[in-house]
Structure formats: C-alpha cells, structure tokens
Symmetry: none
Subunit: 166 residues, 4 copies
DNA sequence: TATGAATGAGTATTCATTCAT
DNA sequence: GATGAATGAATACTCATTCAT
C-alpha cells in the first residue's frame, strides 16, 4: 500500500501498472490481487483512511472553543501535516478532479466549527466566511504539497494578519 | 482535438484510449497518429494554446491602469471564461499535478500587474499580496469549473468586499 | 525504383515500409501505388530486369568459344559487375532464400556453356564440374557484395590456378 | 522458440507476426513478451545457441590431427548436421545478409585448424586454401539446406577428389 | 500466505492501400 | 501524373487478472 500510494500520488493511478507496484514493493504481482481483489480496490484501501486522517488532523481544532483560537488553528492546520503523509494528501488532491473520489462532505465538521467561530467573532456571513477560509486552506495546502512547507510561510503570516491574528 | 480535450479533461489522459478518441471524434484511429505522431503529442497540441488563451484572458487586466480597477478585474476574471473553454481549463487544473505540464511562469504577467496595483494602493508587501490573490483566483476558478458560475458568486462578492471594492 | 532497390537490398523487403521508400525517394506515398499497384509489384518491377541483366553479364562468355577462355571468363565474371548494380545483386542473393523468387533456371545458359567447355577440356564429368564452378562463382559474388571487390582477389587467383589458368 | 525458429527460417523474421508465432506454438501472445521481452530478443534467444552448435559441429574436426583427415572431415561436415537442425541453419544463412547477425569470427577455429592441416599438406598458401574450402562448405551447406542431402552428394565426391581424398 | 507462469482483452502505433482532388 | 489526407486491418507490446502450485 505504501508503494502504491507513492506511485498513485506521484505518477498517477491510470499511469502506473500493477506490475510496477509489485516490483517496487518487492512482492509478486499475484499477491496484490490475492490481497486486494483488483487494482481499484487497492486504491480504495488506500483512500479508506481518509476520514480517519482528517479527523485526526481536525482534532486539535474541534476541541478548541475560543473563536479566535479556532481560526488561528485552522490557518496553521496545513503546516501540521506529517511529511510522511504528503503522498497521501497529494493523491487526495489529484483525485479531487475525479468525481468518483471527491467527497466534499468530509470537510463539513471543520466548516461548522469555523462557522460557529466566525459567528462568535461577529462576521456578517459566518458560513460563507468559513467556506472561504476552507478554500484558502486548500490553496495553502496545495502550495505546501507542491513546493514544501517553507514556501508557504509568507502566506500563512499574511492570512493570520488578514484575520487580525498574531 | 476537441474530442480529445473533452475526454482528457473529463476522463483523464491515461484513462482514455486513442481508440475512444477516434470513435467519438468520428475519425479513424490511424488519423490521430498520422496527424499528431503519438498520443502525447496530441495532448501537447492541445496544451500549446495555453499561453495564447491566458494572454487573451489577461488582456483586459493588462491594459487597465487604475490600481483598484486592476484588482477588481482580476477578481472577476474567472467569471469571464467562455463556457466553451471550461474543458480546456479543467484539463489545465488536472495537469497541474503533473510537474511536466505545470508552468508557473505563465502567471507572471498577471502577478506583476497586480504587484504594481497593490503598490499603488499602499499595501505593505505588494508582491506577496499579488501572489495571494492569484491563489484565491485559483480557488474561485476551481469552484466555477466544478460547480458552475452561480456557485461561485458569493465568493466573488466576499472577495470584492475584502479588497474594499464594490 | 532505385530507392526501393536500395532499401529492399540493404534493409529488407518486409522490414521497409512504403512510407519510407516514398520519403527517401522524394515522392508521395500515393504515387507508388498509382504506379506499381502494390508493394509486391514494386518488388517484381525491380526483379523484372534480372533476366536481362544476367544475359548482359553472360554475353561475353556466351560468345567465347575457346574452352579455357570460357572457364577463365566465367571465373572473372563476378568482378565485371558494375558497382552501381551491387544493390541489385544483393537483393537477388537475399531473395534466394524465398522460394518464390528463386529461379535456378536463369543460370542454365551459363551452365551449358561451361559444360561444353569442360567437355572440351576432357573433364570426367563436365556438367558436374560446371555446376560446381557456378557454386564457386556464387560464393565469390557473395564475398564481393559483402566485403568489396578487393577482398575477393586472392580467391580469384586461387581459382584460376586451380583450373590451370593464368 | 521452436515455432519461432521454424517461422523465422522459412517465412522470415520481419514477415512473421508474433501473433502467428503464438498461435502456431499454442500459447498466448502475451507469453512471448513476458518471456522474451520483445520480438527481437526472441530472435536473439534463438541465435544465442549458434556458438554452441558450431562448436559441437566442429568438435570432431578439432580433435583430429592427421592433416588429410582434417580436410576430409571438414568436407563431410555439412552432411553430419542433424535434420532437426536444418531450420536453425537456414535461419543462419538468411541472416547472413543482416550485418547485425553476421559474425565471421565464429568460423575462425575451423579456419585455423584447416590452415594448419593445409600447411602440413604443403599447400602454397595454407590460410587462403582454408578460407576457400570454408566457402565451398558454405556452398554445399546451402545446397543441402535447400535441396536436401542427396542432391549434394555429387559435389561432396567431386570436392573430395579435388583434394585427393577417397 | 505467496509465487510466478499464463492469459486474453486491450493499447498505442504502423502500414499498405484508397481516394478525392 | 501527382499529391496528401484518410482508412482499417494488422502489429508489437502492455496490462489487469487468473490459477495451479
């Protein structure tokens, strides 16, 4: 699964043959099918952890109750991703364009938490503001995944400033 | 090329066989290769118009000189895309994750125009602000391409308001 | 036809596409088919001159009547081939292994002339001797076509000596 | 490999599609590529045994030390080829015209053995004589492969007689 | 559990040939 | 007479999947 994740994320699901996954993983090609049934189910097995990983990532935000802190923690969220998980998130972003794997529902808990926070901070349209910040997060995450954490630091500070934080 | 663009954008370059492109285009498969040489060159032929299309899209902004108007026009830019070109831009966004086809240099003219504008508007770090707005553009464009123009209108107004416009 | 001869002889009939023949000949691919009908007939058009070329090559021998001179001239025959015709004969030799194009009848005039000559020279089995010398000719021709005229000179002298000539 | 050898030898490498090889061999086409990588490597796998087969064929000659016997055994060599190997040698002869597969070095051990033998027999230019006899071998082999063993017997006896043997 | 040989449907690409101009 | 766009059957090769061991 690690090898498949690496290849799916960096080469592409359709572009990578199961023979290559097997070779680079050092197992027989047959084993992949014995284990996962078929190539698509291998992808699904990898994607299955998405919900759990998101929950883990959101945990710190969800248990925070001070509105300004919620916003700050959300902005810092993309920088807390473990570098070992970059491939996983890269794959997520790539698959966003395949309707089949795009599930906007997964971000809802974060959106709701943010909506409450922006409500507390007296924003005119808290939900719109929440959805907008989520998009900015998306953008910053993309930059981190493509160019590395360092490259995104100026944006982080700019966004924090725009929300009157730090 | 139109058929290929449609399929590459909505199904995926690697996921779509040349036989399908030929069938849906109503030509023989051989013709594709006679004309473009190979599948990759067909993609490149499609992508070759990127620079020109971007220049056309940017034209209205580039010739504007009033700083606030520059910013406003940039924010409205994604809404000026012809719906016939949606497939083309969808393909662009999909291929962003393929290093081979990602060329950040293409956005530089817009970034520079915006930098000058934000300078004129007394922003503290005009270039950073320009690059940030470009990211927001990216976000809004993504939303338009995935959910349609209407869905992005609230964001447009929010962003305009944040920049003190309208 | 010149280009096709070159390519058939040096690359191979099946290995060379008509598109390449057309390109290297500087004509359109269509013209080949307009002119010759199909690829095989192009080959046959080239091969059609075989009989005439052989007759021309044999002419000097046929009109010779002195037995020893006949043998000598036959031995020297491979060295009289015009270098411009090497491709043609290379093609002949290559096609010898295709039953379809192998026509042993063509050598009969030479064999008969040699048989008479060896008869006059009191050889025990003139026809066998004639057929044997023809094979040696074949061998020397092969060497000339593959390594050049110079490389075959020692053999020529050896064979002349073996037949008590020069 | 047996089927491929048969077809390459009797139809031609370029003229025979891998699909036909697979069909006549009773295996799937994919297996050919799984096993040999590509068509050319299949040919090379067949040709790889050339050196060994030649050594086996030469063995009887190499261990002979009596000069006249060496010459006799060389002349008889083409008649000792197992009929099961005719396809293999036919392929060799066909490929002689492809520079890529023509390796004159392989005959050197035989040439050297013959050179020594002709030296012992007081021939004026032993090496030239050796190379000439090799050519005659080539001629006789060609005849055997094309017309069968019987057809070449008269030549065998003629050549033996010319070298004062039998 | 794990392998690796085997498969057959598919995939990009080639090629001889046709045809309208 | 000559072109070049177009074709479709074929061709080498790939790939997900199966299966006996």
């Amino acid at each position: 699964m690690d090898t498949a994740l690496d290849l799916f994320a960096n080469v592409g699901y359709d572009a990578v043959p199961t023979s290559r996954i097997a070779r680079e993983a050092g197992v027989s090609e047959g084993l992949i099918f014995r284990h996962f049934g078929n190539k698509k189910k291998l992808l699904e097995a990898i994607m299955a952890s998405t919900e759990r990983r998101l929950q883990e990532a959101f945990a710190g935000v969800i248990e925070e109750d001070e509105p300004a802190e919620v916003v700050r923690k959300v902005i810092l969220l993309p920088f807390t991703i473990d570098e070992n998980e970059y491939d996983f998130w890269r794959l997520q972003f790539k698959l966003k364009w395949d309707k089949e794997y795009y599930n906007p529902r997964l971000m809802e808990p974060l959106i709701q938490k943010l909506t409450v926070a922006f409500g507390g901070l007296q924003y005119r349209d808290p939900e719109l503001e929440a959805r907008f910040l989520e998009q900015i997060l998306d953008t910053i995450s993309t930059q981190i995944l493509r160019e590395g954490r360092e490259a995104a630091l100026p944006f982080r500070d700019l966004v924090l400033a725009k929300y009157g934080l730090q």
